[in-house]
Symmetry: C2
Subunit: 493 residues, 2 copies
């Protein structure tokens, strides 16, 4: 691992390659021998699990319940919501048969042609159709509403160009699907969930995000409004990190989900859906990590502290083992997760590099000689600063240090982002500057034509109409027509 | 719901129908509009989540880590392990295409014939093949071993006759896959995991199980030994509730997973796999529930206590709300999950029936009049016994009652099972008695012929060679040949 680390491409040389290498070298994930799919390795999965636990708790606090709906969707369901099928149904895995049989030479299997399905089934690319087909039977009266379901599952979209975590054919996610009696309640839920995603990104991932609403062309297929959180990566590109959709009555109508309202009149149910995926892993990695490897926020790090002993002989090692155990017990009682690595088949230098690569927030070196002086060496991964600290009370010191690291990496990411947000009113200047990355706040006339021209000229897109900036009317930098507000434009993943 | 409850078929009338109805009426799951697949509803999923949390913690305590491997498996992988493909590959969902397109009449979608895969992909029926294909790259030296991975995921087997939770085309499960340097270590892990399943079944599900080893014909396809836990349902049938497989070097050889051992010699890795699925839900339901509905063990009940207020007017209701909140807070501080149902659009009688149907272990009725006497009414779901209890200290009373219920339903199930285990040495008698259910301990000569005859004559199968009984040699009841030990025979799900 230490050897491999030297080979990690520097961000300044090739940011994209740095990312690809880091994901593999840090044991987060790897390409599977199945086109476009990934294997999430234990260390990567441990981070994802921590994300799941926190998000799941946040959802449940708002009354959301988990459920599970089928993986396979009958083909005909997809065409029921016209816009949805246009945007979604095309690139997906199609199940056509349900049996294999031994081939004639008895050395392999072939698809049994007699086991052809009457109607093909699609592996879910998202589950609005199958879920609203189910809700039809659950919703009769306003008393059955709201329904607030979420599922943690795998989905599949047949992507041509894939990158680990950022875009894979199969990925893991959660998808929430709610049904409401009123438009107002559905809109409120849509906003509430994007707020939860933003809170999670900022407080746990330490990734600052910009909340906003998508333009019509960038909306989810079938949505009336799509809210998004957009994060800035270290190359200045945007990463859409979570979306929440107000679906109006589109799916209610498509699947005939009607309920009797308080006045005993039939009405179509109002829908929202919202999701975050293993793509968040990509955002986490790209926001904080450096040329030495991962930098993980303590709130999501599977191992928050690693303790490495350095002793010359068995007697010293025995003493260090005992000291380490005492420190570990105190750390655990403070809610800190800690690993003690006294493996004798790896040298300390190798371990140092390995845990740096893996982004463990705090390293404690327990040296026999230092201990005689009553000190240990503490290194914080975010700044790589080392310090000798009194072993007395080191646990509280570490606990506070973890809090400080969490805050510091958030602030660093926030400062970086804010230093790369520009207001821009001149299209020539914009075209030149957007090449170097960054978020641009520009006036837009609201037309698809202008949006398409910007995309064609610069490969950048309107990420959202951000909520966080005060908005004043102006003049579209491309068309010269009046604009209601500035939108956020950037190149993106 | 109260009305529907009346329609619940009694167990004595039709046990199978009782089960099917109960799963739906108690809001656990329902048939999806996709052949053989189910929707797990929030209440059912909440029980599954509790199972997952507990099992996941038990696995991790033994060093297991979670990971994620692809849903789709290239067809050719399945034929690499000869026995495995015979047993498994046949009835499965086959992905042949990766794109849909709009049809000529523009009112639907069809499979795009130009998007045919070169090699078909199979939706995993189990993941040994894809995982061992991955392990090949992870394992070079004995230092890389053991690998102890588990994944929580969905799998698919194209079942012709399906029943909710017991047998569905898609189901949820966990599958552990470990790789070891020695045979001994792999065998030990196989046994360790079946032990964990047994502990979970007995301590959390309150379901007594018999551990044992499967006969050769009942083994997992590709295994050298399959360990099982077998539970007895109330109709005397066996339900295989979890299995753990010692796979020898079969998958190591099939996928060329070699490592250098301590002597620097190449060796094939040793494998185990083990799993439990949403089938456990079926075992849970069928073991404890009664003609009034579900009976849930407190350890896995999503709601352990429901509090229902009975008041005549707003003033009384306000007082009851306050009293309920105080009780709830104390219960929560004792780690008890509690729901307060003061909905005013349902009558108490309706609520009583509903929570009985849902198997909530303890019901506390908060009556305005009772409260004046300083008492509340407590009903325990397992025995349906009601008791007036002093409101002072009721929280500790409930906490103890929950423990008692957990123990009581386990004991009830254990007594029932033990009363229906018979030693039998006469085949004619066996044939007659096995029709009525029960577990039969019979001598078996160890041949496939005898095993097949028993199955053909009686639709019962050898469930396992149980570990728990002292074994002495004897005479096979069918063939009259010598037998090494008694095996457990029963009809099964």
């Amino acid at each position: 691992m230490a050897k491999e680390l030297k080979d990690l491409t520097k961000r300044s040389v090739n940011y994209s390659q740095w990312y690809n290498e880091l994901v593999v070298k840090a044991d987060l994930a790897e390409q599977a021998d199945v086109r476009g799919c990934m294997v999430i390795k234990p260390y990567g999965y441990a981070i994802w699990e921590k994300m799941q636990r926190v998000l799941d708790g946040m959802f449940k606090e708002t009354g959301v319940q988990n459920a599970y709906f089928p993986l396979l969707i009958p083909k005909s369901f997809l065409s029921k919501e016209a816009e949805h099928v246009e945007g979604f149904a095309k690139e997906c895995a199609v199940v056509t048969h349900y049996r294999l049989k031994t081939n004639d030479t008895h050395d392999g299997v072939i698809v049994d042609p007699s086991a052809k399905l009457e109607e093909e089934l699609i592996i879910r690319p998202t589950s609005e159709t199958i879920i609203w087909n189910t809700y039809k039977n659950w919703i009769k009266s306003y008393r059955d509403l709201p329904i607030l379901c979420n599922q943690w599952c795998n989905v599949m979209r047949w992507e041509m160009r894939t990158r680990l975590f950022l875009r894979t054919s199969e990925f893991l996610w959660q998808e929430g699907h709610t049904a409401h009696a009123t438009k107002e309640e559905a809109v409120e839920r849509t906003k509430q969930m994007i707020g939860i995603y933003a809170k999670f990104a900022e407080e746990y991932m330490a990734v600052p995000v910009i909340q906003g609403v998508k333009s019509e062309t960038e909306r989810f297929a079938g949505a009336l409004d799509t809210y998004t959180i957009e994060a800035m990566m270290q190359d200045g590109k945007a990463l859409q990190s979570g979306t929440s959709h107000f679906l109006g009555q589109n799916f209610g109508k498509a699947f005939d989900v009607q309920f009797l309202n308080k006045e005993n009149k039939p009405e179509y149910a109002w829908a929202t859906s919202w999701g975050v995926s293993t793509r968040l892993m990509g955002a986490l990695i790209m926001t904080h990590s450096d040329d030495n490897g991962l930098v993980l926020p303590p709130a999501l790090a599977p191992i928050q502290v690693v303790i490495i002993p350095i002793g010359k002989n068995d007697e010293q090692m025995k003493m260090l083992d005992e000291k380490a155990e005492a420190i570990m017990n105190k750390l655990k009682s403070l809610g800190v997760s800690v690993k003690y690595d006294n493996a004798d088949n790896k040298r300390p230098g190798f371990k140092f590099a390995d845990y740096e690569l893996k982004g463990v927030p705090v390293r404690l070196v327990l040296g026999a000689r230092d201990l005689e002086q009553g000190v240990v060496e503490i290194m914080r991964r975010d700044t790589l600063e080392k310090e000798n600290v009194s072993v007395e009370g080191v646990e509280e010191y570490i606990k506070n240090l973890l809090d400080d690291i969490q805050k510091n990496i958030y602030k660093k990411a926030l400062d970086f982002r804010d230093a790369h947000i520009y207001e821009c009113d001149n299209y020539e200047e914009f075209k030149e500057r957007v090449k170097d990355g960054g978020f641009f706040l520009c006036h837009w006339d609201g037309t698809e034509e202008t949006e398409a021209k910007i995309k064609e000229d610069t490969q950048s897109t309107i990420r959202c109409v951000p909520f966080m900036y005060e908005q004043t009317p102006g003049v579209d930098m491309v068309s010269g027509k009046p604009s209601k507000c500035r939108v956020l434009i950037a190149r993106s993943y």
